[in-house]
């Protein structure tokens, strides 16, 4: 297993390198720069600014400098917030997004798994139909429709929550519910499918024949195998929660890293764009690796290869 993880991490290095290099040169070849804003600045000031940030040096030098500083763990100064570094901005905004993502993931698994198991156990009864319809609704009503609708009803109409902001614990409820429900729907669907397949297998019949109670059969014997499709979905799901948070952070005006990323691209804040892309890419690749390890742990018949 250590070999497997080491090998995969080794493969990650060229991928990350391609991502950084691609993004670096893509940004440089698009029109506009960090200092071409609506505020007119004199050519001398612009030159000074560019000299200060090293933008007047040849492109390959800038690229090498940037690569070297990334290797030392320094993502450089932000162009749009002159007093702050990219590391500081990320350290400031990331915890908010991570909290939102973790609660949403908990919502997705906490609602999705029980519903999926229930639907599979009560197959083709009204329980199953209710659970499955819920799952389909979660998939077909996108976050940017459900979010505003929930705000309209629960925050504005009933006044139970604040319509936006991220200050008190209660402000976490609506955003993470909206972001989590979509993935709860997928998780429920996949759990149902996985459980149905496992429940029809011989070892389940053996367990029942040995007199194991139904709860024990489901939780102890079936769930482990039934979870496989859910675990392989976790990689894409986490990627989706990350990008989904762009929309959620906009709807609920949450000061997270997602809004910062979209704004930095508009502002041509070169270093901040690169820093966030690097962060997202590294994070997603790690999550996919963890999901692969979990898959083997659930099903020892698969081998690390």
């Amino acid at each position: 297993m250590i070999r497997f993880v080491a090998l995969r991490l080794l493969q990650t290095i060229p991928v990350i390198w391609v991502i950084i290099t691609g993004t670096f040169f893509m940004i440089r070849f698009v029109p506009g720069g960090p200092f071409t804003s609506e505020r007119a600045i004199t050519p001398e000031i612009k030159r000074n600014l560019e000299a200060h940030y090293g933008l007047n040096r040849p492109l390959y030098r800038q690229y090498l400098d940037y690569g070297w500083s990334v290797l030392r763990g320094d993502l450089g100064p932000s162009f749009k917030y002159p007093t702050r570094t990219v590391n500081e901005i990320i350290a400031d905004k990331l915890p908010v997004s991570v909290e939102l993502g973790l609660i949403s993931l908990a919502v997705a698994l906490g609602i999705g798994l029980p519903l999926g198991v229930l639907a599979a156990v009560k197959r083709n009864t009204w329980v199953d139909y209710v659970c499955s319809s819920f799952a389909l609704a979660g998939i077909c009503v996108p976050t940017f429709v459900m979010g505003p609708l929930l705000i309209l009803f629960f925050a504005i109409h009933l006044g139970w929550f604040n319509a936006s902001g991220w200050y008190e614990p209660i402000d976490r409820v609506l955003p993470s519910l909206v972001l989590g429900l979509v993935y709860a729907a997928y998780v429920a669907r996949l759990t149902r499918g996985g459980m149905l397949e496992v429940l029809s297998q011989d070892f389940i019949r053996t367990a029942r024949a040995k007199g194991a109670g139904e709860t024990r059969v489901i939780l102890k014997h079936a769930l482990r195998g039934g979870l496989t499709p859910v675990v392989s979905f976790l990689g894409p799901a986490i990627a989706g929660i990350v990008t989904g948070s762009f929309v959620i952070e906009k709807i609920f005006q949450i000061p997270g890293i997602g809004r910062e990323f979209v704004n930095s691209a508009f502002n041509r804040d070169y270093t901040l764009v690169l820093g966030t892309v690097l962060l997202y890419a590294g994070f997603l690749i790690t999550m996919n690796l963890l999901a692969d390890i979990a898959l083997v742990w659930l099903n020892p018949k698969l081998k690390f290869e």
Partner: protein, 288 residues
């Protein structure tokens, strides 16, 4: 089955059509989508022009003159929703077509080539799967402007991966079938084997997955539009309308509710139709 039926024989397609006809939900979805597509295509002709402003009227709730009400500039929401649907459906179809072309070509080459080429090509797909593609699409749209052709291409370039995997798997398994060997033994040309024996057998999964890709593509387009990165004014899509409605929902709920409902209903129908086709064509490809 009566002997007469057996005599006439059943093609895969007539069987599938019979099964699909019995699935009322899928059929109703298909009819709904057809009507919607017609309305969106023809709507702006018989409805009030979608950009007719009437500033004195302003935003009004649904009424006999304006079935879905008007927006803050006094524009008829029904006409605007149909017009937005035109763009959303067009993006859905064209970007899916781009994804289909890339995915089928890539998957077919990989499957036919086999061996080391196949392994390398699929490894690339695996790596691409793990990348944050939505992030690159956002960067592309910000940097190169909100161009609708770029939108087609960017979305298509994201959604082809699963299609490539499905096609490659199909081609690999069909290649080893005995009837292919028989056809080769009979001296059929390579071209004829591909078009007569391989393509029809790959078609089922491709059709099913295409139907399921369209809603995913439309979601991505609406997601970008909602972030302000989709099509540009004066064009509008459902994502643009929903974003506009979400901003003004406190006073004018109908601006959010009607475009949102129609968008969700369309996604529902496409999913029902896709699932129906999957059952009808008996495709057991796993959905990721």
């Amino acid at each position: 089955m009566t002997p007469i039926d057996e005599d006439r024989g059943h093609s895969l397609w007539s069987d599938a059509w019979h099964r699909l006809k019995r699935n009322r939900l899928a059929l109703a979805s298909g009819v709904f989508l057809a009507i919607l597509a017609l309305l969106c295509a023809a709507g702006p002709i018989f409805s009030q022009a979608y950009q007719d402003q009437n500033l004195e009227l302003g935003a009004t709730p649904p009424s006999p003159q304006h079935w879905l009400g008007t927006d803050t500039l006094g524009r008829d929401l029904f006409a605007r929703t149909l017009y937005g649907g035109r763009i959303s459906l067009t993006v859905g179809l064209v970007a899916t077509f781009v994804a289909l072309t890339i995915g089928v070509t890539y998957g077919a080459i990989s499957g036919f080539a086999g061996g080391k080429v196949d392994a390398a090509m699929m490894r690339i797909v695996d790596i691409l799967y793990a990348l944050p593609f939505a992030i690159f699409v956002i960067l592309l749209m910000v940097f190169f402007g909100r161009n609708i052709f770029l939108l087609f291409f960017a979305i298509g370039a994201v959604e082809w991966l699963t299609m490539a995997r499905i096609v490659r798997g199909q081609v690999l398994s069909i290649k080893r079938m005995e009837y292919i060997e028989a056809a080769r033994a009979l001296g059929l040309s390579r071209r004829r084997i591909i078009f007569r024996h391989v393509v029809p057998n790959v078609l089922g999964p491709v059709i099913v997955y295409t139907t399921l890709t369209i809603p995913a593509v439309m979601l991505l387009e609406a997601f970008l539009s909602f972030l302000g990165l989709g099509v540009q004014a004066p064009m509008s899509s459902w994502g643009v309308l929903i974003e506009d409605g979400a901003e003004k929902m406190e006073e004018f709920w109908w601006l959010l509710v009607f475009p949102g409902a129609l968008f969700s209903l369309t996604l529902f129908s496409l999913n029902f139709l896709g699932d129906g086709l999957r059952d009808a064509l008996d495709v057991r490809a796993s959905k990721d």
